[in-house]
């Protein structure tokens, strides 16, 4: 891990009318680190993710990204062309609903190849080879490379979305409830896959989840959000085994033991 955070948020605030979705949130994400943002519905965690990824503009505060060369840039001040270039090269975004993150009318191979083509790949054979390799890596049979995502199960779609995001080897990936809406056994395999890929590739991940178990499995560090504020943060095991804030204690104690 290097000395400087890859992404820093400082004093982020955002209100929707009278609702304060973010209220002075600051956090750092370090290269190669998985940071889980947990909290109940409406705590502002998804909004925080969208603001950090430049998809929403905060009322106050700033997000700074440090690129491969060590140059730092303001996410909300760099302009749309630069932000889009980042979003398809050094960043990735995995959505809860695979239908938002995938092109449903395009084959699995085309979905994985899109980011390659968007960054200038123009050799059909090598794009296809790379797509097949990634399908295999996320445990989808390469024989299904020409099938559309509509014919895939929910878990497969989510794995396809991950392949499509990671194919250009981003440094920073935002994940919004990547296991939401899947059944428990599928969730477990997907979490396992994400954990393997993230540690192999050394990607920094900002993971939004309401699933404490997923956070414990994947995350190095944890922040707990409530009503737009961070109420507790620390190493995952420390926060989950020794929660200090009353809300975190409530959250941890409400997990059902199997």
């Amino acid at each position: 891990m290097s000395d400087d955070p890859i992404l820093s948020a400082r004093g982020l605030s955002l209100s929707f009318g009278a609702v304060r979705a973010l209220d002075g949130v600051s956090l750092d994400l370090w290269p190669g680190e998985v940071l889980a943002i947990v909290g109940e519905s409406g705590s502002g965690k998804s909004t925080l993710l969208r603001v950090m990824a430049g998809e929403a503009r905060p009322d106050a505060g700033a997000v700074t990204y440090r690129d491969t060369l060590g140059a730092s840039m303001e996410v909300h001040g760099m302009g749309e062309p630069a932000l889009r270039r980042l979003a398809r090269t050094e960043w990735g975004f995995v959505r809860q609903d695979a239908r938002e993150g995938l092109r449903m009318g395009v084959s699995a191979g085309g979905n994985v190849g899109e980011r390659l083509m968007a960054t200038g790949a123009r050799h059909y054979g090598s794009i296809r080879e790379e797509a097949a390799r990634w399908l295999e890596r996320v445990e989808i049979s390469p024989s299904r490379i020409d099938d559309r995502p509509g014919t895939f199960s929910g878990g497969m779609r989510q794995r396809l979305q991950i392949a499509r995001t990671l194919v250009t080897r981003p440094r920073l990936v935002f994940m919004d409830e990547p296991t939401g809406g899947l059944d428990v056994s599928v969730q477990a395999r997907l979490l396992d896959l994400i954990r393997g890929l993230v540690s192999d590739l050394g990607i920094a991940v900002a993971l939004v989840t309401h699933d404490i178990a997923a956070a414990r499995l994947l995350a190095h560090r944890l922040v707990v959000m409530r009503e737009g504020r961070i109420v507790e943060e620390g190493l995952t095991d420390r926060v989950l085994d020794d929660p200090r804030h009353p809300y975190t204690q409530l959250l941890v104690s409400s997990v059902l033991a199997a």
């Binding site: 889009r84 123009r122 059909y124």
Partner: protein
């Protein structure tokens, strides 16, 4: 062909001078930014949308009494659309000459083809365009396609070509195959066959495109690079039927397939009627 009498009561070439000026302004902008779609205030024309209202408005804005107009539809000068547009201009533009000869024309309005006879400097091609947005089948939101053009973010189009090869084994569209103009803007060449795409590249003629229903104009100035999209290992190939013209014997022109009876009889003829007739005259002489 008898020349119809010019009709009184209309301004020259049907449109009023204010409208022509508006269209010319949009055309100047289009020529200045090759391949970029410029909005314009499309007028009601005395023919239905889809029959060339955009092309007619562009033609009306650029022709003068000293011009010679040729109109083709699918390469032919004698089909309904071509004949009625030619008659229309003969009626509302006194002094304007019409022709079927590519070499004699100063303005050529076209639907679906570029003439086989090479174009020369000073000629103006006017294309009738049904859908000016090359990305519309991939991205239905017009605000979003404009953003993609502004950022030159054309990975999506390449994805479509990828899908074509994955399904059909080759870069797929036989007509309206997308092109990059001047290395900057992605452009729909109008529904001309892919066979004609190479003729746009470095053409000495000025090429103007009008989409009446969609209210967009765009242009390719003379001697501009026009490259058909493809992959390094699946290069663009101009498609044509594998055969020769039954009338003039040409083996290098774009061919139409004609069904001659109901027992499977068929033959190929040149789609460019003027080029075919000229070749036959030269043979007979």
């Amino acid at each position: 062909m008898s020349t119809p009498m010019p009709e009184s009561g209309y301004n020259f070439a049907y449109l009023d001078e204010g409208t022509k000026r508006m269209i010319r302004r949009a055309l100047l902008k289009a020529v200045a930014v090759p391949g970029h779609q410029v909005p314009f205030g499309s007028r009601e024309m005395p023919l239905p949308y889809g029959w060339g209202t955009g092309g007619i408005q562009v033609t009306a804005a650029v022709i003068g009494p000293e011009d010679t107009l040729k109109v083709i539809d699918q390469g032919a000068d004698d089909t309904t659309n071509a004949v009625s547009i030619r008659r229309f201009f003969a009626r509302v533009a006194p002094g304007l000459r019409t022709t079927e000869r590519t070499a004699e024309a100063t303005v050529i309005q076209t639907r679906h083809r570029i003439p086989e006879t090479p174009l020369s400097e000073g000629q103006v091609m006017v294309y009738q365009v049904p859908q000016p947005e090359p990305l519309y089948k991939l991205e239905p939101r017009r605000a979003e396609t404009r953003r993609l053009h502004a950022l030159a973010d054309y990975g999506l189009m390449q994805v479509k070509l990828y899908e074509d090869i994955a399904r059909q084994g080759r870069v797929g569209s036989s007509y309206d195959h997308p092109v990059m103009v001047g290395g900057r803007y992605l452009m729909a060449p109008s529904p001309i066959p892919a066979f004609d795409n190479p003729k746009m590249h470095m053409s000495p003629a000025l090429q103007l495109f009008g989409a009446g229903r969609e209210r967009r104009l765009y242009a390719v100035p003379p001697y501009t690079e026009v490259r058909s999209l493809d992959f390094e290992d699946h290069p663009f190939e101009p498609l044509r039927a594998n055969g020769h013209c039954a009338l003039c014997g040409a083996r290098d022109t774009y061919l139409d397939e004609m069904i001659t009876d109901d027992r499977g009889g068929r033959l190929f003829v040149c789609s460019d009627t003027d080029h075919c007739a000229t070749r036959r005259e030269e043979k007979a002489a």
